[in-house]
């Protein structure tokens, strides 16, 4: 019994610990700059919209949001389609060399990005892709691909093994059995993979920092990290920006939490 109460109390504290920084950022994003650090109170005394106005009117925060949506969205589409082919083959076709490919893909998920930042920079510069959308999508596709393939392999394996054989007995080719039978059945798995890939790209920082040159191509994390005020840190606007960067992710997580947890743990634990 005491164990149960203790774990209840622990969980409540943990939820508070998890939620507090968000609460505090929301409160601060509506608080006048001048009173931000003057005797902070847990309840706001007055609420203003000035920081949000300044964020969009003066800092043009819509541009990084648009950039992030374009880059993360395009990458997700590429990763899920290309990844689905590869994952299907790796999960459901027996062929020599497949184990090596899987091991290789898993190894690349652990690849340190910093190790290839400078050659990638040279490569992208040579292709005149620095500070462009393709210049981000290209490296993102690579870095998100192993994750996408790995997750999808897990989902394809969960389907009963004889599905294609049954379809092929009925005269379908392998391609038809893949597109007509397997793909529709893995819809939820594809969705989960798309969600996780999107979050991954929405959050990426190092490549975006290295391969963009100006505010017109900054993604959300870069734009927020490089916020500068004239004399001091513009906390009000920064926090308004963090609220905006968090909102879409929070909505996705709340809507799809079951799926996300399933995808995360399937990818990592079952191997």
């Amino acid at each position: 019994m005491t164990g149960r109460i203790a774990s209840r109390v622990g969980l409540v504290l943990l939820v508070l610990f998890a939620a507090f920084p968000f609460y505090w950022a929301v409160v601060a994003s509506f608080t006048p700059e001048a009173t931000l650090f003057r005797e902070p109170t847990l309840w706001p005394r007055e609420l203003i919209l000035e920081h949000y106005r300044a964020l969009f009117a003066e800092r043009d925060f819509l541009t990084p949001v648009k950039n992030s949506l374009i880059v993360a969205g395009t990458t997700t589409v590429f990763c899920v389609t290309i990844g689905a082919f590869a994952a299907y083959a790796l999960a459901r076709i027996e062929f020599a060399g497949k184990r090596v490919v899987l091991a290789f893909i898993l190894a690349v998920t652990m690849f340190p990005q910093i190790s290839i930042v400078s050659p990638l920079y040279m490569l992208l510069r040579g292709m005149h892709l620095i500070n462009t959308y393709p210049g981000l999508v290209l490296p993102y596709v690579t870095f998100a691909m192993p994750l996408a393939v790995w997750l999808l392999v897990g989902f394809f394996r969960q389907l009963p093994p004889d599905l294609e054989e049954a379809a092929m007995v009925d005269g379908a080719s392998r391609w038809q059995s893949f597109t007509r039978v397997i793909l529709p059945l893995t819809g939820p798995g594809l969705a989960t993979t798309a969600i996780l890939t999107f979050i991954y790209c929405w959050n990426e920082f190092l490549f975006a920092l290295s391969f963009t040159l100006g505010p017109e191509r900054y993604t959300v994390p870069v734009a927020i990290a490089l916020f500068r005020g004239q004399y001091q840190v513009p906390w009000g606007q920064i926090l308004a920006a963090t609220v905006i960067a968090t909102a879409p992710v929070a909505v996705i997580v709340l809507l799809f939490q079951r799926r996300i947890v399933q995808g995360l743990t399937a990818g990592a634990v079952k191997g």
Partner: protein, 309 residues
């Protein structure tokens, strides 16, 4: 592909299967090879040269392992390595202990489980840059909320300027990391917990085993694979830490919170020492690779999945 055959109950021929397999895998593999492996090879080659973009007149002479020898005597590198190790050990330990506690609590099944899961998932899902800024704000300024709360509770006698001293600057950094990644650890462990046979606990309870005995003799041993996965994933992440520290302290005060990834980034993109930076990159890669190998060995991952025939 294969034309429709009159007697298709035979299995597809292995050669055509292999061809289909490679054909389907090719685009994904190509993308990975071009953008990951080719640059890696370039980095290795570059690391054998002296290449300083600030001094282009020096050219790009081949120096063999010269850069690596310099690293051996580079105090700032060893310092950065120390910071990285310190950060990894402390944060991963705290995350594993807290994550296990959280997983055990969540495994009990109670009302409002969805709320807890959502509450812990959101920090995991947001950009690291955002998490770093949220916690920097909490610890910023002598009148920030952390100082106010800690002085009011009596833990601090007077407000601290957290980011001015190396020792105190680590506190918000590690706290932010724990806040952001404990949920991930907890979810991995929870999945492990759910696969343990409930009857083991029932049998142990009937025999009068204490909760502690059950935890240390049943739960933890059976949870070992999940713990190992979480441990290695987190160690790798902690070893590559960049975003969090770049935003929270910028590696400062001075270079006292600078991890290896940030040192490498500075060598490359601030000092434009491409040869030296490349050598640092290779070292990070090798350490990560060794850790990853350890992971795959330790788990004996079954990469083929269940045999289908």
């Amino acid at each position: 592909m294969t034309p429709i055959q009159p007697a298709p109950s035979r299995a597809p021929r292995p050669e055509s299967e292999a061809r289909t397999g490679w054909l389907l895998t090719a685009p994904a593999l190509l993308a990975i090879l071009v953008i990951a492996l080719f640059p890696l090879a370039w980095t290795v080659w570059e690391s054998l040269h002296e290449h300083d973009l600030r001094m282009p007149w020096l050219g790009r002479p081949f120096v063999g392992l010269g850069n690596y020898l310099t690293i051996l005597h580079d105090a700032r590198f060893w310092q950065a390595l120390g910071h990285t190790a310190l950060f990894a050990i402390i944060s991963v330990t705290v995350e594993l202990v807290l994550g296990l506690a959280l997983a055990l609590a969540m495994n009990r099944g109670f009302r409002g489980r969805g709320v807890v899961r959502a509450a812990v998932l959101v920090p995991w899902a947001i950009p690291t840059v955002v998490a770093a800024l949220l916690w920097r704000f909490i610890f910023d300024s002598q009148a920030g909320i952390a100082n106010v709360v800690l002085t009011n509770v009596g833990i601090l006698h007077h407000p601290l300027v957290w980011f001015v001293h190396a020792a105190t600057a680590w506190v918000p950094v590690i706290l932010a990391d724990v806040w952001k990644t404990t949920p991930f650890v907890a979810l991995l462990l929870l999945a492990g917990l759910q696969s343990i046979d409930k009857e083991l606990y029932e049998a142990a309870s009937t025999d009068g085993a204490s909760a502690w005995w059950q935890l240390t003799r049943i739960t933890i041993p059976l949870l070992k694979p999940a713990i190992l996965v979480a441990l290695i994933f987190r160690t790798l992440d902690a070893f590559r830490v960049f975003d969090l520290i770049y935003v929270m302290t910028g590696g400062g005060p001075g270079t006292s919170t600078e991890p290896v990834a940030l040192y490498t980034f500075n060598a490359l993109l601030q000092n434009l020492e491409f040869g030296y930076g490349a050598a640092l990159s290779v070292i990070i890669f090798l350490v990560t690779f060794a850790l990853a190998m350890l992971y795959m060995r330790g788990l004996g991952l079954d990469l083929g999945g269940p045999r289908r025939r």
